[in-house]
């Protein structure tokens, strides 16, 4: 069988990161064992790969969306398995994490089909066929604007069109820096989203910011001529959750319309006095654990959840809908226990009707946009000590991938429900 008869296709060949694709092979002999393989070279020059073992049907076809993988980095009927089950190729350094820092170019993946069921040596032999697919965080027409105003550093992504659009303040966690890709993706779905930099890995702890920084950032979003000032939400992951909850509960200036908190906790609010914060953290150092691979587990540092109301965000004061998204195998932060405590506090305060909690079984800490690889542990520089560790995030790959896919859909639905307006009658719409 010569290579020229086999046809491999990926559709769409240029998709958004959260769009599914279909990988299909045609013109194979019937019942032929083949391996579908995906290769990606990240921005920091590491190689990632995934593969699945298939068998062609009587017509000689393999359909990645319909057929089952018998083995590889994923099994079963998993149309996006070639992306979310990617991991660093054998021989790679430890603790890698796959993140796209430049959103104006796509992630490029090479999809190949090999004869037989292979588990290694993909780069030592030619495939039967291969095609290239692009995965974009940015839709065409979305504008990227660098923000450096009133001391606030961030990147604003504005969808195409006249607007006005709902706005989003988007915050990542304790790793710091300016991470744009989730905001770019939100803007590709019609939200004017600002990714905010609030922890600078290079700066000392003394220059950390207070609640006023986030209020100013929120206002900058509101004041943009293409943003609906009363339809701005906040999204935070990990430490960004503490920020989001603090602002939602205490700020008189920044009133979010809704709040999404991923893998975070209400312990400790960010407006806690600094010396108190340092005391608590010193006390918790002894509770840090390690697993058998010397990955650092931080989960227990806030357990048991404190009963001291001064050490928790007073979530009873929140007046907007709140969506919590957690993985129950989160080894970095006790998010599930925090969510339970949040529910109790809101129940007592009488605002529990605002709360929705999604807890994903066997998902870890880094619940990111869908179809991106699961990272169970990765390198991390601890902000206040500059120590290099490998943090255990947790999660099992398949369950984590499902959580990412499901939660992203729920996040978009939640944001559209509270930030977009569904006109009920033509006369009510002032368009």
């Amino acid at each position: 069988m010569s290579g020229s008869s086999v046809l491999l296709s990926v559709q769409p060949s240029r998709g958004l990161v959260d769009e599914p694709f279909r990988v299909a092979v045609a013109h194979l002999p019937p019942a032929e064992p083949v391996t579908l393989h995906c290769l990606h070279r990240s921005e920091d020059r590491h190689l990632w790969e995934a593969y699945g073992h298939y068998r062609s049907d009587q017509a000689g076809s393999v359909d990645g969306s319909e057929d089952e993988s018998f083995g590889g980095t994923y099994t079963g009927k998993e149309r996006m398995g070639l992306l979310w089950s990617m991991r660093p190729v054998p021989g790679s350094m430890r603790g890698l994490r796959l993140r796209k820092m430049h959103v104006d170019t796509p992630m490029v993946v090479l999809i190949s089909v090999y004869r037989g069921h292979l588990t290694e040596g993909f780069r030592e032999r030619p495939p039967m066929a291969s095609v290239v697919a692009e995965r974009w965080y940015l839709a065409p027409g979305v504008k990227r604007i660098e923000v450096a105003e009133r001391g606030v550093i961030g990147t604003f992504f504005i969808p195409p069109g006249p607007g006005p659009f709902p706005g989003m303040l988007d915050m990542w966690g304790g790793g710091g820096g300016l991470v744009e890709y989730r905001s770019a993706l939100l803007a590709s779905h019609g939200f004017a989203a600002m990714a905010l930099k609030y922890l600078d890995p290079d700066k000392s702890v003394d220059s950390e910011v207070g609640i006023g920084y986030f209020e100013t950032a929120f206002q900058i979003i509101q004041e943009h001529p293409q943003v609906m000032a009363d339809r701005v939400g906040i999204l935070g992951l990990s430490f960004g959750t503490a920020v989001a909850l603090t602002v939602a509960a205490y700020s008189k200036i920044a009133r979010p319309r809704c709040c999404v908190c991923i893998s975070g906790s209400h312990v400790y609010p960010i407006n806690l006095p600094r010396d108190r914060m340092m005391l608590e953290m010193a006390r918790n150092e002894g509770i840090v654990q390690m697993d058998e691979e010397n990955n650092v587990i931080w989960r227990h540092r806030i357990l048991p959840i404190t009963k001291d109301p001064n050490l928790k965000v007073d979530v009873g004061r929140i007046e907007c809908p709140l969506l919590l998204i957690n993985g129950d195998d989160d080894q970095n932060w006790a998010t599930v226990e925090s969510a339970e405590d949040i529910a109790n506090m809101m129940s007592v305060a009488g605002n529990k009707h605002l709360l929705t909690t999604l807890t994903y079984p066997r998902a870890g800490h880094l619940i990111e946009p869908p179809f991106t690889p699961h990272i169970r542990a990765s390198n991390f520089i601890v902000h206040h000590t500059k120590q290099k560790v490998v943090l255990l995030w947790g999660g099992e790959t398949k369950a984590h991938a499902d959580a990412q896919e499901h939660s992203w859909k729920r996040i978009l639905t939640f944001l559209r429900e509270y930030l977009y307006i569904q006109p009920s009658r033509a006369s009510q719409a002032k368009l």
Binding site: S4, L7, P126, P225, L431
Partner: protein, 467 residues
């Protein structure tokens, strides 16, 4: 659209105006009006609908799902598409819909009740594109640079609007509710484009991504001349290597530009180049031609000693209506090639009875399957009569099994890759005077023909080149 309490910095950034340091910046909105002109006020509580298109970066033959949401229910809306051709002309299309009870308009399932097309046409906004009222006459939309996409702006408007009464300017935002941008590509990522200027051959070779070897096509167009790459680029994006071959009216081919100066040797060299290429499977080569290109590919298949696996002919004659080589485009000036309206048309000269016997293809020498694609409204070439004649000759020669015909009512001469606009008439030449060519074809049936013919062409190629 500027708000009452916009910050000065936001205003400056949004409008791109910079103010010199010496000017004191007044943080009062009314003061800003002197700088920016009249400001359109908007309440904080206006609703914004959402217009989505998926995929936003599509191959030319991929369907794009367009949807508008967060609109009032049972409400009239217009979806407009507009783009600029490479020559800078504005093309646009409009479609008129009504939202459903949920305030949603879905172009994949809903019916347009007016505008550039009617009925359920998911890709109507693309194939019904027309030059804007302000554009030049006699235009035809063709992509020269296939490595970049067409960028099409989609927009959602209040009510049923169009450009027929007055042009819609982008700056006129009243009624414009939402927008989205799509890119339409002729090439998938890492499809390779290789310029060919060797052995006297002038062409462009497109190679699919991947290790190869690949089945391949030779791709010929008509007497418009030049080098048209877009169909080959699409074939390569589907895993089939393809050589777009110039043969007439190209500056890199020696001889007068208005004369066909190459003969059998040229086409044989091109075929051999493809056959010998390390990434092409030499036993899996097919030929495709449009218009006069059909005569040329049939001649290659029967007369010059090469053995392609299949031939596709779109709206072509069964022979050369003038001497080959040596045919001149200047012969257009011969008024016999103008119809009663003064448009260039070869219908009369391509009737089978009008083709000189010595110039006719010897179909009895055909050894491979032939797919004949006919636009029944072809005003430029006697395609239907030709197909009838070809079928007769092959049947008489005991080779009826080689012949397949696809015949499309309402389709014209220029059956091209799908979801592209048809030109019923377009400018053919300006020397010695301005003459239009009449191609034929009505928008909706021609679009349907392009979509169907493309699928069937790809199936035909797959079947004959990959088995």
């Amino acid at each position: 659209m500027l708000k009452a309490h916009s910050s000065v910095t936001a205003l400056l950034r949004y409008t791109g105006i910079s103010i010199p340091d010496k000017v004191a910046t007044c943080r009062n909105i009314t003061c800003m009006q002197h700088l920016f002109g009249a400001v359109r006020w908007r309440s904080k509580f206006t609703a914004a609908p959402l217009l989505t298109a998926q995929p936003a970066r599509a191959l030319i033959d991929e369907q794009i799902a367009i949807q508008g949401r967060f609109l009032p229910p049972h409400w009239p809306v217009t979806v407009r598409a507009h783009m600029h051709s490479e020559e800078g002309d504005l093309w646009e299309a409009f479609s008129h819909y009504k939202t459903n009870e949920n305030g949603v308009v879905n172009l994949t399932t809903d019916h347009s009740v007016g505008g550039s097309y009617v009925g359920c046409e998911p890709m109507g906004l693309f194939w019904a594109l027309q030059p804007a009222p302000s554009a030049r006459e006699g235009l035809r939309l063709r992509k020269k640079d296939v490595e970049t996409p067409y960028v099409v702006q989609l927009s959602l408007w209040e009510g049923h609007v169009s450009s027929s009464k007055r042009p819609i300017e982008d700056e006129q935002t009243a009624g414009r509710l939402a927008a989205s941008t799509v890119e339409r590509w002729y090439m998938t990522p890492h499809t390779r484009r290789v310029e060919i200027r060797q052995n006297g051959i002038v062409g462009t070779l497109f190679l699919p991504s991947g290790p190869g070897p690949f089945p391949a096509m030779v791709d010929l167009w008509g007497m418009g001349g030049g080098l048209n790459e877009y169909r080959s680029a699409l074939f390569a994006s589907k895993g089939i290597a393809s050589l777009s071959l110039a043969y007439f009216g190209h500056k890199d081919i020696p001889g007068p530009l208005d004369e066909l100066n190459v003969g059998d040797d040229y086409f044989r060299s091109a075929y051999n180049l493809l056959q010998d290429h390390p990434e092409v499977c030499g036993e899996r080569i097919g030929l495709i031609g449009l218009s006069y290109g059909v005569y040329l590919v049939l001649r290659m298949a029967t007369h010059i000693g090469v053995k392609p696996m299949c031939v596709i002919g779109i709206n072509g004659p069964l022979g050369s209506y003038d001497k080959f080589p040596g045919i001149k485009s200047g012969d257009v000036v011969n008024y016999q090639m103008l119809d009663e309206h003064g448009n260039f048309s070869l219908r009369h000269f391509t009737m089978p009875s009008m083709i000189p016997k010595e110039n006719q293809i010897k179909f009895e020498m055909l050894e491979c399957p032939l797919l004949c694609i006919v636009g029944e409204d072809d005003y430029n070439c006697a395609s239907m009569e030709t197909a009838n004649e070809i079928e007769e000759i092959l049947r008489a020669a005991g080779k009826a099994q080689l012949f397949t015909r696809l015949s499309y009512p309402g389709a014209g001469h220029l059956i091209e890759p799908p979801y592209s606009p048809n030109a019923r008439v377009s400018l053919w030449t300006v020397k010695p005077k301005k003459i239009n060519a009449i191609w034929g074809g009505h928008p909706a049936p021609h679009a349907a023909a392009q979509e169907d013919a493309w699928k069937k062409m790809l199936d035909f190629i797959e079947y004959n080149l990959r088995k």
